[in-house]
């Protein structure tokens, strides 16, 4: 079970080292701090909008989770800086991760 195998199922998890407990981002097999095995932490995580912009009618925003992980995600409503959001949809399409928050 890895971050990507869960993401393929539409589930967003937190990659974490089983040895030193450090969150490892972007997700890799081994921890970039202690080289320990990386596992995943499941949950319903809150993210915070750090910045955003808009292309055509679609907003995209930089969202931070667990004060470590940052992703660029789509949001369907008008976003606000500091807004607390959750992943509403995610996956892998044509090799690219994708994330929606609301």
């Amino acid at each position: 079970m890895s971050f990507e195998s869960e993401l393929l199922k539409g589930k967003f998890c937190i990659p974490q080292c089983v040895v030193c407990k450090k969150i490892v981002w972007p997700p890799t097999e081994f921890c970039n701090h202690c080289f320990g095995q990386v596992s995943i932490k499941k949950g319903d995580f809150n993210g915070k909008i750090i910045e955003f912009s808009r292309q055509n009618e679609e907003y995209f925003c930089l969202v931070e989770f667990e004060k470590t992980i940052r992703v660029i995600a789509k949001i369907l409503q008008i976003p606000e800086i500091g807004q607390i959001v959750k992943i509403s949809k995610c996956g892998i399409s044509n090799g690219n991760y994708f994330f929606y928050v609301n």
Binding site: W25, P26, I50, E51, F52, S53, R54, Q55, F60, L62, I69, R70, V71, I72, A73, K74, I81, S93, G95, N96, Y97, F98, F99
Partner: protein, 369 residues
């Protein structure tokens, strides 16, 4: 450590032409030797190729095409700052004594694969550089209360300066209104805020002090080098309104050259997008945080070409692997008082800033007469 100087250079016009990468590379090398026929190609110890092109074995191919049989021949890739990375490698070969003379040649096609960093999945579906640039721009405007019109002046200035550069992709001038009315890519980025990928090549010949003095009357010395890579992924940037890698690389380069930022007379900064120019100027220490746009306005209004005299990436075009080398050639020409209509008065010390992937990696060079 052996002192390293720039002996010669060659460059091609930056275009949208569809040419083979080998031909593009060769054209600037040919230009270099046509301009400096006295240089003996048998004395070239290393040939380094800077490109993001996927073709293989380009350095031995270029060497064969140019009639050179070097001891060392290989390619160097680091996205948009491949060019200055190659110059730093050449410097290191010479300074260590492994080579006396090194040819560095950078080239790219307009359709370079180096524009997109596929690895960076933290960007989600938003892997094109316009998305990190939009986030930077929004953040910079928000933090320092800067308007789109203030940032548009970067493009206006650099297109104006590119008009004096015969090799520039752009030959047009624009008003702030033209930039504002150009195609809207996102809420925070217009088409004329962006540098354009293009086809082009630039080559430079570096040599040890002893060899340099035998081959040119006006060698330009590389006196400071600073490099810093903070990450590969855009989302690891802690600040979205300043460039940490640039700040650290600039400080290292100035320290090595034993100079203060106030000593610098002419500068090439990596203006991949309008917002990058004030951010880079501030991170290098030319102005306070949030004041870079005021400095740019003053330079524009006084027709002072100190920053990006050749038109920067926005005016000159951005053939990724050639950009850092073209920037270094511009500063060399400026210090040799050989920059014709773009000449900055009394330029003695110059600085090159070249970066990659949303400023996750930066190189800064200090050049002197």
């Amino acid at each position: 450590m052996i002192k390293v100087g720039i002996v010669a250079y060659g460059i091609t016009p930056f275009t949208k032409d569809d040419q083979k990468i080998e031909s593009i590379l060769f054209n600037s090398v040919k230009n270099l030797f046509e301009n400096n026929p006295e240089i003996d190609r048998n004395h070239i110890d290393a040939v380094l190729v800077s490109t993001n092109n996927n073709s293989k074995y380009l350095s031995p191919i270029l060497s064969e095409m140019a009639g050179i049989q070097p001891k060392i021949a290989h390619s160097i890739e680091s996205l948009c700052n491949s060019g200055t990375n190659s110059i730093v490698s050449a410097y290191s070969y010479i300074a260590s004594g492994l080579a006396d003379m090194v040819l560095v040649s950078g080239a790219e096609r307009y359709d370079s694969p180096g524009q997109i960093l596929e690895w960076d999945n933290s960007r989600g579906e938003f892997k094109h550089p316009i998305f990190w640039a939009s986030i930077f721009t929004k953040s910079y405007k928000r933090e320092f209360c800067i308007s789109d019109e203030q940032l548009a002046l970067v493009s206006v200035k650099n297109h104006k300066q590119a008009k004096q550069n015969p090799n520039a992709l752009s030959n047009k001038t624009f008003t702030i209104q033209d930039v504002m009315n150009s195609k809207k890519l996102t809420d925070d980025l217009k088409l004329l805020d962006c540098s354009r990928p293009c086809t082009g090549s630039a080559s430079i010949l570096l040599a040890s002090q002893e060899i340099a003095k035998k081959n040119t009357e006006i060698p330009i010395w590389i006196t400071g080098i600073g490099q810093k890579t903070t990450s590969a992924g855009f989302t690891k940037n802690l600040s979205l309104s300043s460039m940490e890698s640039t700040k650290l690389a600039g400080s290292t380069a100035l320290n090595m050259a034993n100079h203060d930022i106030k000593d610098i007379d002419v500068v090439e900064v990596h203006d991949a997008f309008s917002v990058c120019e004030p951010m880079a100027l501030e991170s290098l220490g030319f102005s306070k945080l949030g004041s870079g746009v005021s400095m740019i306005k003053e330079l524009y209004e006084t027709n002072n070409f100190k920053i990006n005299p050749r038109g920067g990436l926005i005016g000159a075009g951005h053939p990724l692997g050639a950009t850092g080398i073209a920037q270094t050639i511009e500063i060399t020409q400026q210090l040799q008082t050989n920059a014709t209509n773009r000449q900055v008065n009394d330029a003695k010390i110059g600085l090159v800033h070249n970066m990659s992937a949303a400023a996750t990696s930066s190189t800064v060079l200090v050049l002197e007469k």
